[in-house]
Symmetry: C2
Subunit: 325 residues, 2 copies
């Protein structure tokens, strides 16, 4: 009976997942494995997007697309499986900027996107077209159709574009401030998805440079605070460190402890529950929200599916119990 209820609930509730790069893409893939496409919407950070070599590059959108489409490089988490590097090698020989690795298959995505944008399509429409070609049924939505560049202020006077800091400088310059743009508005598709959302799941992406840029887009933070039955985040901190990327380093630079407790405190009232890793159970402090302790490391597609199922069941339980907001 309990199981039956749970499965009924799963098929009736509308889920929005906020996702950044590799970790976000993996949880989104887990959710796409268990939810019908009309119950799941994935809203993706486009603060990393930048103009490069004449093209619009959308790193997080593409990581989500390649992951859900089964085309991602399993070694790196980003880029295409079976990739080659002929063009970027020649760009380097011609003295062009080659610090951002663009593989030959990956380049096709950027060229086709550029063509669609140059013909007047917006990023939402171009993303929909590309995702459909990768066989993805659930909507994958850029957070906005506007440019919304995240900038990193380090020791210099001028902030760096996010990818300059993240890829070119290998996220080594200390972060004094993450600068998010004012006046960016969510697309109609994003606000419609949030209007009908029962559950919002925050993927284990970097809170400062993957999730905050999404929440910064008006009115996403406001709608998430007001509307859904439950908001649950998955901690990107595992065993006192980030599985990948600069989240832990940034927390230290902010004077935070590197722990799921600190992640939950950072999200504050926005979330009703946190999913965190068993490795952190002994050291975790007190949480102001509900918690679920499990294995959060997603090594393969089965892991993604299991974590998605557990996270969803936990969020549904919060929604049913009325422990939200």
């Amino acid at each position: 009976m309990a199981n039956q209820k749970q499965s009924t609930a799963t098929s009736n509730l509308n889920v929005v997942c906020l996702a950044g790069g590799v970790g976000g893409a993996k949880l989104a893939d887990g959710l796409a494995q268990i939810l019908p496409p009309d119950r799941l919407t994935i809203v993706v950070n486009t603060g990393d997007d930048f103009q490069h070599l004449g093209l619009t590059i959308c790193p997080d959108l593409d990581t989500v697309m390649y992951t859900l489409g089964g085309a991602a490089n399993p070694e790196t988490g980003w880029g295409r499986e079976g990739e080659t590097w002929i063009t970027i090698g020649e760009v380097a020989r011609l003295g062009g900027p080659a610090w951002f690795n663009l593989g030959d298959l990956d380049l096709a995505t950027h060229l086709v996107r550029a063509q669609m944008l140059s013909e007047g399509q917006n990023l939402t429409s171009a993303t929909h077209h590309l995702c459909s070609l990768f066989g993805i049924e659930a909507p994958v939505l850029p957070m906005s159709n506007q440019l919304a560049p995240t900038k990193i202020l380090s020791d210099g006077e001028e902030p760096l574009m996010f990818q300059e800091w993240f890829v070119r400088e290998r996220w080594q310059p200390p972060v004094r401030e993450v600068q998010l743009p004012d006046d960016v508005i969510a697309s109609a598709q994003v606000t419609m998805a949030l209007e009908r959302a029962d559950l919002v799941l925050v993927a284990p992406s970097n809170p400062f440079v993957s999730i905050d840029p999404i929440l910064n887009v008006y009115p996403i933070r406001e709608m998430i605070s007001d509307l859904p039955l439950a908001v649950v985040a998955v901690s990107p901190i595992v065993g006192g460190a980030a599985l990948k990327g600069p989240a832990a380093k940034m927390m230290i630079e902010k004077g935070m402890t590197v722990s799921p407790t600190a992640v939950a405190a950072y999200y504050g009232d926005l979330i009703d529950g946190l999913v965190y890793d068993v490795q952190d159970e002994a050291s975790a402090g007190d949480f102001a929200c509900s918690t679920l302790v499990t294995d959060t490391i997603m090594r393969d597609r089965e892991d993604r599916k299991r974590l998605a199922q557990e996270t969803l069941a936990f969020a549904e339980e919060i929604a049913r119990s009325g422990r939200n907001h």
Copy 2:
């Protein structure tokens, strides 16, 4: 003594070569083999340029650059030697426009050019940078820094962009009219080169869609009429046909005979001499200008050099004899 005089003349006269695609690139390469780089300027048609997949594609500039840089595909005459086609294959799979063949090495040129243009460089400066990386010393100049798209009016109401007609439609739709833009101005580098030009050589390129677009750029036609000691064209018609491309087909559609005589008549007063092929000697009619009959087919680099030498000597002879204009 005669030889010595001729060689002195060669090294003292300033030469401008007007070039379109493959034939133009070959004669330009021959000239670059025999002239010091400060005596030769190559002015290239950019009427074929177009925006495609977000990039600025300059087919004739690139053909000249790859040919002079020793990087051209010897089979096709265009594109890079040792080319691969990974990205464009994926563009096709993603439903993008794949009718214009962009190889993986060639793409690097377009990406680096796009980067330079996006940083505010003009096409002349970007071309100079790329050519220097291909080891080319003589200036290769786009006819203008402005967009100057050649359009082809065929049976439809709307004209086609040149590359749509030339590549996508394989130049099969009959040409009712070649539409050249008004108000395009030559770059300062082009007008300076023409100001100091003693000889102007018109390469064996298509008169209607490679050379006319250059002459249409103000004040190129006017300067060529007024300034140089001699203007000599090489006929693109060999044996009553075009070696490559639509020149002969267009002449037939215009009601012209397909002959060097018709080419000379088309250029009219602009040229003082025509170089044409031995295959056409028996059938050629009367010419209003001086002529040189030789083997004009350029099979290899030696052929290019020989034809360049003969063409240059012929032009110098016209200049010395005062038979010009």
